[in-house]
């Protein structure tokens, strides 16, 4: 589904990604771990197409198509979803209205008519029930005055609504207490399927107790320095990142 080859990216002339190679297939869950400032979040932003990052070398292929030149919204229409580490507030725009706009814009890009109101309401009802979201929550302004947990849950709700092929969860666990973490993880697990893929970006192993990855990659200084199965996460928990840094330096 996603093929990243020798990806180099920089922001304001500063090199952040220095040759990332990653292949993600349908049905798989990949965890990307690494210390602060290693380039994890940058990788997520670059896949989503954030313009302030310049891709200097390498390529990103999604579903057999080169998406280097595609705008963020085009990538979203193709089925790339990013759950933000810090979801932004949009005052006066309700969660429902925002979702309605997002879904209809994607449909428009595919040459479809707006989703009929009835169908939209049904979809909202289904997904909010599945994720145990209070309906009142949906009429509030997007992320305005939301607690950390509510913001992340709202991201997962949007993911459920948009049904992306590839979901990238950027530090979804940060700032969550254990109950909120469990709710969010449950949501992600419910949405797992054979034709979808997930990339979890996380600093801690904690999230991986709830969402079991098929693969774990460790990023250090803009490169993937180690890949393995889910045991790798435990090893990291045990030993910290330092041994990998040393290994990488050799």
């Amino acid at each position: 589904m996603l093929k990243i080859r020798n990806l180099h990216a920089s922001v304001e002339g500063k090199k952040i990604l220095k040759g990332i190679n990653l292949e993600v297939n349908a049905g798989e869950v990949h965890a990307i771990m690494g210390p602060n400032g290693s380039g994890k979040s940058t990788l997520a932003s670059v896949i989503a197409g954030k313009e302030e990052f310049e891709v200097t070398q390498g390529s990103i292929e999604f579903e057999g198509e080169d998406i280097d030149e595609a705008s963020p919204e085009e990538r979203a229409h193709k089925g790339v979803f990013l759950s933000f580490q810090y979801p932004v507030e949009i005052p006066g725009v309700s969660v429902t209205n925002f979702m309605k706009t997002a879904i209809n814009e994607s449909r428009k890009a595919k040459g479809l008519e707006d989703m009929p109101a009835k169908e939209m309401l049904k979809l909202i009802r289904e997904k909010s029930e599945m994720l145990d979201i209070d309906r009142k929550f949906l009429s509030r302004s997007l992320n305005e005055g939301f607690s950390g947990g509510e913001k992340k849950r709202n991201e997962i709700f949007q993911m459920a609504m948009l049904e992306p092929k590839l979901s990238i969860l950027d530090e979804t666990d940060s700032g969550l207490d254990i109950d909120a973490l469990r709710i969010v993880a449950n949501g992600v697990n419910k949405l797992r399927s054979d034709d979808k893929a997930t990339i979890l970006i996380t600093h801690y192993q904690r999230l991986l107790e709830y969402i079991i990855p098929d693969f774990v990659h460790v990023i250090h200084d803009g490169k993937i320095v180690k890949s393995g199965g889910k045991e790798l996460a435990l090893e990291l928990e045990d030993k910290g990142y330092d041994w990998l840094k040393q290994e990488a330096a050799v």
């Binding site: 989503a48 197409g49 954030k50 313009e51 302030e52 705008s71 963020p72 919204e73 990538r75 979203a76 229409h77 979803f81 990013l82 933000f84 979801p87 932004v88 949009i90 005052p91 006066g92 725009v93 209205n97 925002f98 706009t101 997002a102 879904i103 814009e105 994607s106 890009a109 302004s141 949007q158 948009l162």
Partner: protein, 481 residues
């Protein structure tokens, strides 16, 4: 059977219509220049009684002694008042034979606003085939109103048919010598609307759809007078979301509202005059005086969506004379490119327990300047007066400006006045967030702006709220590169 607004709308959708209350005057235009003879000639042309002519002349006398105000935060080349023609017949000949001759960009905007083909023709000055039924729409509308004793006609007609009301109220809220532009309007006003709601009557429909039909032909110096008798209610909408490419550069309107005891007037405006091109050339100067007077327990609400004009100078105000009266002002002012707006309100608390609310949303883009100017005045006998003001500004890009000039004068120690102000900028992070959800930048801006303006949009009558939303979208197109 009662004639509801819904039915009227349906009828308008399916039928062609003509201007309801304009009498046909042969197309002609006065040569430029203003003097007593011109004022007399205007009055004569409109077949006005002598008292009206004298009224105009008195206003002209005041105007000659007045100077154009300079305190507003707007900069423009002052109009040469002797270079303007002060009369042209409202029903001038069609400019085009078919829609194919009209600027395609303008037509595209019409289409996106959801304006019917017939209305498009009317608004862009294309000849329209005369349909026999046209008069009947207006007639049945008028009939419903007449059954309730409501008078809704042009100000010219009111001067002829209801002189006692016009004499009593015209100039009672905005005196002839109130300000430079009001004096000018009083001397040379072309036409406008008159509305009278009798005691205890609730006007059964928004006086809006009908007015919108008229809008295409209104002149440069509009005069509006709305009188709501004791315990009556009326909701009134002026303006049009469709862009008005008016040839007249200077617009100076006067609107007077009179709300008697326990009466309520809701006055909504959508203004989309030509703002000038992207380089700031051309565009309408809009210098408007709007004021309402509230008697005991009365309420006046002004709601405005201002997206057009090169220069806007406008302060819809409320004189809260009666005890327990309420004044409200809800405003969205959008400026883009080189537009300048200095707009706000005045809430003058004279009576006891009077309350006022001000919600102002300014959106600036391009190289535009957007100012809120508001006065809250509490007089000495206005015990327990309360005001709440909220002024929010939204900036797009680095070259525009947002300014807030609140004036507060309280002469009564029991007054409670609150003022809140915020300034924010549409952030790249907000845009990227929307983009990532599949929403393109243009649409994202519209979404953010609509969210920002929601409190005010909600105050508009439903069908206009939808149009106004689209209008905000179109006005800000291309403002973030």
């Amino acid at each position: 059977m009662a004639y509801t607004e819904e039915e009227l709308k349906k009828e308008l959708e399916t039928k062609e219509y003509e201007y309801g209350f304009y009498t046909d005057i042969e197309s002609d235009t006065f040569p430029p220049g203003l003097n007593e003879e011109v004022v007399i000639a205007i009055s004569k042309k409109k077949e006005e009684p002598e008292w009206m002519t004298l009224w105009r002349l008195e206003a002209f006398k005041y105007w000659k002694e007045m100077e154009e105000p300079e305190w507003a935060n707007v900069h423009y080349e002052k109009p040469d008042f002797q270079a303007i023609s002060y009369y042209s017949a409202p029903n001038s000949k069609p400019k085009y034979d078919s829609l194919d001759d009209v600027d395609p960009e303008l037509l595209d905007t019409f289409k996106r606003l959801g304006i019917s083909v017939d209305e498009q023709k009317k608004l862009s000055g294309v000849a329209v085939d005369i349909v026999m039924d046209s008069v009947s729409v207006a007639t049945s509308f008028k009939k419903t109103l007449a059954e309730k004793g409501i008078i809704f006609c042009s100000i010219s007609e009111a001067i002829r048919e209801h002189p006692e009301l016009v004499k009593k109220y015209m100039g009672s809220v905005v005196p002839k010598r109130d300000n430079f532009y009001a004096a000018l309007n009083s001397a040379v006003f072309s036409d406008g609307s008159f509305c009278y709601i009798p005691k205890g009557v609730r006007c059964p429909m928004e006086l809006s759809t009908y007015f919108r039909i008229n809008q295409a032909g209104t002149g440069q110096f509009e005069r509006t007078l709305v009188i709501a008798e004791e315990g009556s209610y009326v909701s009134y909408l002026e303006g049009c979301t469709a862009p008005s490419r008016d040839e007249n550069q200077l617009h100076a309107a006067v609107v007077e509202l009179v709300a008697m005891d326990d009466a309520e007037i809701k006055y909504s405006t959508v203004q989309n005059w030509f703002p000038g091109n992207k380089e700031g050339k051309g565009g309408v100067f809009n210098f408007v005086t709007k004021r309402g007077l509230c008697e005991k327990n009365a309420k006046i609400s002004w709601t405005q969506v201002e997206t057009g004009s090169a220069v806007t100078w406008k302060y819809p105000s409320c004189i809260l004379k009666g005890d327990n009266s309420i004044g409200e002002f809800y405003s969205i002012a959008v400026t883009n490119n080189f537009q300048q707006a200095d707009t706000g309100t005045k809430m003058v608390h004279l009576g006891k327990n009077t309350r006022s609310t001000i919600i102002s949303k300014g959106i600036s883009a391009g190289k535009s300047q957007n100012s809120y100017r508001g006065l809250v005045q509490v007089h000495s006998r206005a015990d327990n007066a309360r005001n709440f003001s909220q002024c929010d500004s939204l900036l797009m890009g680095n070259e525009c400006g947002a300014h807030t000039f609140p004036y507060i004068e309280a002469k009564n120690p029991t007054a409670m006045i609150e003022h809140e102000a915020t300034t924010s900028k549409i952030g790249e992070d907000q845009i990227f967030y929307c983009n990532q959800r599949g929403i393109n930048t243009e649409k994202a801006i519209a979404l953010i702006v609509n969210g920002f303006s929601k409190e005010v949009l909600n105050k508009l009558p439903m069908e206009f709220a939808v149009e106004a939303q689209k209008l905000l979208e179109i006005s800000l197109e291309g403002s973030v590169g």
